[in-house]
Amino acid sequence: MTHKLTGDQLLTTDPLARVEGEGAMTVRVRGGSVTDVELRIFEPPRFFEAFLRGRAYTEPPDITARICGICPVAYQMSSCLAIEQVCGVRVDGPLRDLRRLLYCGEWIESHALHIYLLHAPDFLGFDGVVDMAPHAPEAVERGLRLKRVGNEVMTLVGGRSIHPVNVKVGGFYRVPTRAELRTLREPLLHAREDALETVRWVSGFDFPDFEQHQEYLALRSPDSYAIEGGSFVSSSGIAFESADFDLHVREEHVARSNALHARLHGVGSYVVGPMARYTINHDVLSPLALEAAAAAGLGATCRNPFRSIIVRAVELVYACDEALRIVAGWEPPSQPAVEVTPRAGVGTGATEAPRGVIWHRYRLAGDGTIRDARIVPPTSQNQASIEEDMRSFVQDRLDLPTDELTRQCEQAIRNYDPCISCATHFLHLHVERA
C-alpha cells in the first residue's frame, strides 16, 4: 500500500516490529488533520499484581523479574528497595555498589541492544540488524561486543543475564571475590572504547527536525547519575520522594482508547528514560561521558526524541565508566546480605530501568505475606507522550506515501525504547476499524 493519506483514513502499523513485545498504532485522519492517535499493545494480561498477593516478602525479586526479560534487574531492584523500606533495612556500602554494578551491566546490555539491533537500522534504512550487518560490519560487531560485555557483568554478579538468580531482599546470595570482579576490568575497558565510538557513530546519523516539550521525570542522587535509587525530580522542578509517587502521579482512564495514562499532578503527560535522566542529571555524569556528550553536540537538554539514541550512547559510556570505578575499588562485605526481618507496613522503591523509572509499592502483613502490590513500569508512563509525539509528527508528514510514513512512525515510537510487555496491563486490546 503506497498511496497517500487523504480524507478520512486509518493508518495502522501491525504489529510493531523491533519493540520488545508487540504493539500496534492507529492514526485517524479526518479532512487532512490528525484527530486521533492510539498506540495499542498486543500483549495479553498476565496479572502480576494480583498473584503477588499471598506470596512471601522474599519472592518479588524472582517473580517480578519475569515481567520483562530485557530489564529484569530493574524489577528486582525496585522490589528489593520497597520491601527493605517496609522492614526498616537500608542496603549500603559494598552491597549497594554491587547492585549498581549489576544494574550497569543491564544498562550496557539493554542500551547496546536498542542502539545497534533495534534503532540504528531505522536510521540507516534497514529492516533489522541482520540486513544491516553486511553494510556496516564493524558497527554491528562493535554493538554485539558491547552487548556481550553487559551480559558478562550480569552473569558474574547475577548468575545469568536474563532473570539473574543471585539477587535477594537485603543483598545477594553470594558475593564475588575481588579476583572474580577484577576479571571484568579488561572487557569493560574495551567496552568503554566501543561506547565512545558508539557516541561518535550515532551522532553522525540524520535526525528529523522534530522537537517535543514534555515534562521530564527522573530520579536524582546528590553525587552520582541516579540508577539504583534516588528521589524524583522533574524538569520544571517538581520534587518528591518515592513514598509520595502515587500522590503526584495518577493513572487516568482515557475513554477513547480505554487505556490508562500516567499523568503528573499539575502538569499532565510526561516522559521518563534517557532524555529525562540526561536533562536532569547531566551535571553529575563522569567527565568522560560529559566530554563525549559535548563532542556529540548535546547541550544541557535533549528535546528531539530521535536524538535519544545519542543520549543512550552517552549513558553507555557512563555505565562502563561506573562499572570500572566499582570494579577497581570494591572490597567484599562481611556478609552477602543484610538480615531482613518482616514486619507489617507499606514500602515503595524506585530505580532507573534502561528505558525509564520503575516504581513498586508493597503492603506486607506482620509475617511477611504480601497483602497488595502495585507496579508502574516506564512504558505506561511514556504512553501518553508517545501518542502526543505521534500526533504532531504525523501531521507534518501527511504527504508521505503510507508505507514510508509507517516506517517513520515505527522509528519515532522506538525513540522511547518501549518495553511493551512491561506495560501491557495499561492497555485495552481493541482494534478499531474505520
Binding site: 504489529p15 516490529a17 494480561p45 494480583a50 530485557i70 497488595d372
Partner: protein
C-alpha cells in the same frame, strides 16, 4: 468463554517421548537444496526473555543468520516473509481466545514447531491464575476489568497443538538453544539432558545445599539445563526448568516439611514458573489448604 482445561495427563518427559523427537529436516520451501530453512519466532504471553536469548548469542548470531532465513521475528526485524516455515520457535503461553486460534494457524504453516521456555512449555508464571478466580485477578489489576479479554487458564502450547520439541527454562539456556538450531540444521534430535539438577551439582563439584546447610532446594525434581546455577550461588534451586521425568515430588515435599517448611511454603515452591506442569501442579494442590483444586 470456556476455561481451558489443565491437561489431565502428565506432560511427556523431555527427550524420551515421540513428541520430543523432531522429524528429520524437510525444507518446506520448494526452492531446492540451496534454499535456506525458513525460521519464524512467535510470541504469546511472556516476558520476551527467551526471544532475547536468541539475540544474546552475540558470537553466533550472524552465523545463525547465514544458516537460516530469518523470515519472521518481529522483535528483531520489520522484514516479514509469509509462511510456510521450516522451523517455528514459540515463546509464551496461550491466555486469550485469539491466541488459542493463532497457535493453530502457526502450527498449520510450520514443519517443525519448538517451544522455547517455561511459558510455552508449562504456562509460565501467569499460570498462577489457574489456581485462582480470574475475575478477581482482573479487578485487582484493571480499573475496567470488563475490557480485558483473558482465558481462565494459562496453558502451554502442547495443550493446543502438536509440539515437536520443548525447550525448558525460565529463561532457556543459550547453549541448549544453539543445540536445537544445530540439531535442526543437521536433521537430528537435539541432545538435551533429561536428568535432574542434582546431577549437574555433582558434575560441578558443588556441596549439596540441602544436605550440608538445610537450604530448601528443588534440585532433586527439576530438570537439568542451567548448570546448577542457584546452588552454585549458595541458594536452593527454584525449579525454573520445570519437573524432570519421573520426579518424586511427594518425597521432596516430605523432606521440605522435615526441614521446617509449612504447607504454604511447600505449595509456593511448587507453584512458580512451571506451576501448571502436572507433577508440580499436583504437589502444590496437595499442600494448598482451601485453594482451588
Amino acid at each position: 468463554m470456556s476455561p481451558q482445561p489443565v491437561p489431565a495427563t502428565p506432560k511427556p518427559p523431555a527427550t524420551k517421548s515421540p513428541a520430543n523427537n523432531p522429524p528429520t529436516t524437510k525444507p518446506a520451501n520448494p526452492g531446492g537444496a540451496a534454499a535456506k530453512p525458513k525460521l519464524a519466532v512467535w510470541k504469546f504471553a511472556s516476558c520476551d526473555g527467551c526471544q532475547l536469548s536468541i539475540l544474546n548469542c552475540e558470537d553466533e548470531l550472524l552465523a545463525l543468520a547465514g544458516a537460516v532465513d530469518i523470515a519472521y521475528f518481529p522483535e528483531a526485524t520489520r522484514g516479514m516473509v509469509a509462511g510456510p516455515y521450516d522451523l517455528s520457535l514459540v515463546e509464551g503461553s496461550v491466555t486469550t481466545p485469539v491466541d488459542a486460534e493463532r497457535i493453530r494457524r502457526i502450527r498449520a504453516e510450520s514443519s517443525t514447531l519448538v517451544t522455547i521456555g517455561a511459558c510455552a512449555t508449562a504456562g509460565g508464571i501467569q499460570a498462577l491464575r489457574n489456581f485462582a478466580d480470574v475475575d478477581e485477578f482482573r479487578s485487582v489489576v484493571y480499573a475496567h476489568p470488563g475490557y480485558v479479554s483473558a482465558l481462565d487458564r494459562s496453558t502451554g502450547i502442547a495443550t493446543h497443538v502438536h509440539v515437536d520439541f520443548e525447550l525448558r527454562g525460565c529463561p532457556i539456556d543459550k547453549g541448549q538453544l544453539l543445540e536445537v538450531f544445530a540439531a535442526f540444521v543437521q536433521g537430528r534430535p537435539p541432545r538435551v539432558p533429561a536428568h535432574s539438577v542434582c546431577m549437574e551439582c555433582k558434575l560441578r563439584g558443588n556441596v549439596c545445599v540441602m544436605v550440608a546447610s538445610g537450604t530448601p532446594c528443588m534440585g532433586p525434581v527439576t530438570q537439568a539445563g542451567c548448570g546448577a546455577l542457584c546452588p552454585s550461588y549458595n541458594r536452593g534451586c527454584y525449579a525454573c526448568f520445570g519437573p524432570k521425568e519421573t520426579a518424586n515430588t511427594a518425597s521432596l515435599a516430605d523432606q521440605l516439611i522435615r526441614l521446617g517448611l509449612g504447607d504454604r511454603d511447600v505449595m509456593r515452591m511448587f507453584r512458580t514458573f512451571n506451576a501448571a506442569a502436572e507433577d508440580f501442579r499436583q504437589q502444590s494442590v496437595a499442600h494448598d489448604e482451601g485453594g482451588r483444586r
